[in-house]
Amino acid sequence: MKTLREVLLEKHQAVEPKLDTIREQVTAGLAAGTTDAPPQAKEMARGWQPDASAFQISWRRFLWSLRWHLAGLSAVWLVVLFLDLDHTPDPMQGVTRRATPSPRQLLAALRENQRQLRELIAAPDWEPAPEPPKLTPSPRSEIRPFTNSAV
């Protein structure tokens, strides 16, 4: 006659060597320090700043509750930044562009300067317009003035 406990333990007795291996691995890891430090040591370490851990927890909870709001705001700011970069010319870029014109623009400016100089220095090379004929005013009427010779 056996109790249920004895029946169960006997049924699984064959697995004991495997369990021994597991136990030895875990305790060896503990001895080598590959598993975490003992909880007491952890608590001692935590004891240095108990308020900080509580503060961190509450701060994390607060941020976690605002996660969707923060994500939305971040997305909006990213869009704004993208649009701003895309459409607004950089003022410094404009200055450099103005400071260094292209060779074609330089050539055109030189030609324009030369033309203006030629206009100022040299005589005009075109013929002067003919003087308009001098007009003698015609008598105001057909009535001849009275003279003594006609008599």
């Binding site: 056996k2 109790t3 691995q25 003992p38």
Partner: protein, 184 residues
């Protein structure tokens, strides 16, 4: 060979200080009962060994959360129980495994040693044990394998005391019926 020690003799304070030899004694004491409990719930040898190993590692990491040294055993079984639940959760079996039963008072004067099984009944008892719902099986194993008080079983399984009593009542009733049928 199973080493049985009374809870008060277990070197829990030394384990708290990180003494590997103390951990070895504790693990040696509970390794087979833990394995039996886990195996009878998940029915997979490799998974059960993995859960026992995870339980050992979790115990070394979280011993600081244990308030009473005398509750070390039920605390370890509680970790193993949670590991089983995690496994079922991954497999999507949690709802079926944790079905609730109607609460009924337990029979008074229950003793794990009272239920004796003859050699020819062993196979039938094990078969019945596997046929029980997981929730009843869990309570029955904790009661018979480690003789935990009902309050500790409630803590291990994360259920109300009334629920534990009810589950234990139904499970024992079913086992007794089977044994009596065998005797007659």
């Amino acid at each position: 060979m199973l080493v049985v020690a009374e809870p008060e003799q277990l070197p829990v304070p030394r384990a708290r200080a990180g003494d590997p030899a103390a951990w070895d004694i504790l693990f040696r004491r509970y390794q087979l009962p833990l394995y039996v409990y886990v195996f009878e719930l998940v029915h997979d040898e490799q998974a059960s060994l993995d859960i026992v190993q995870e339980t050992f590692i979790a115990a070394t990491r979280h011993l600081g959360s244990l308030r009473e040294d005398g509750k070390f055993g039920s605390w370890m079984f509680g970790i193993a129980h949670q590991k089983c639940l995690q496994r079922w959760r991954k497999q999507g079996r949690e709802a079926a495994a944790l079905e609730e039963l109607a609460a009924e008072p337990a029979e008074s004067g229950d003793d794990p040693a009272e239920l004796v099984i003859r050699a020819e009944q062993e196979a039938a008892v094990m078969k019945l044990l596997n046929q029980l719902p997981v929730a009843q099986r869990s309570v029955l194993l904790l009661h018979f394998v480690e003789d935990f008080p009902l309050e500790d079983i409630a803590a291990v399984t994360g259920t109300a005391l009334g629920t534990v009593k009810s589950r234990l009542h139904y499970a024992k009733k079913a086992l007794k019926e089977l044994i009596e049928r065998g005797e007659s």
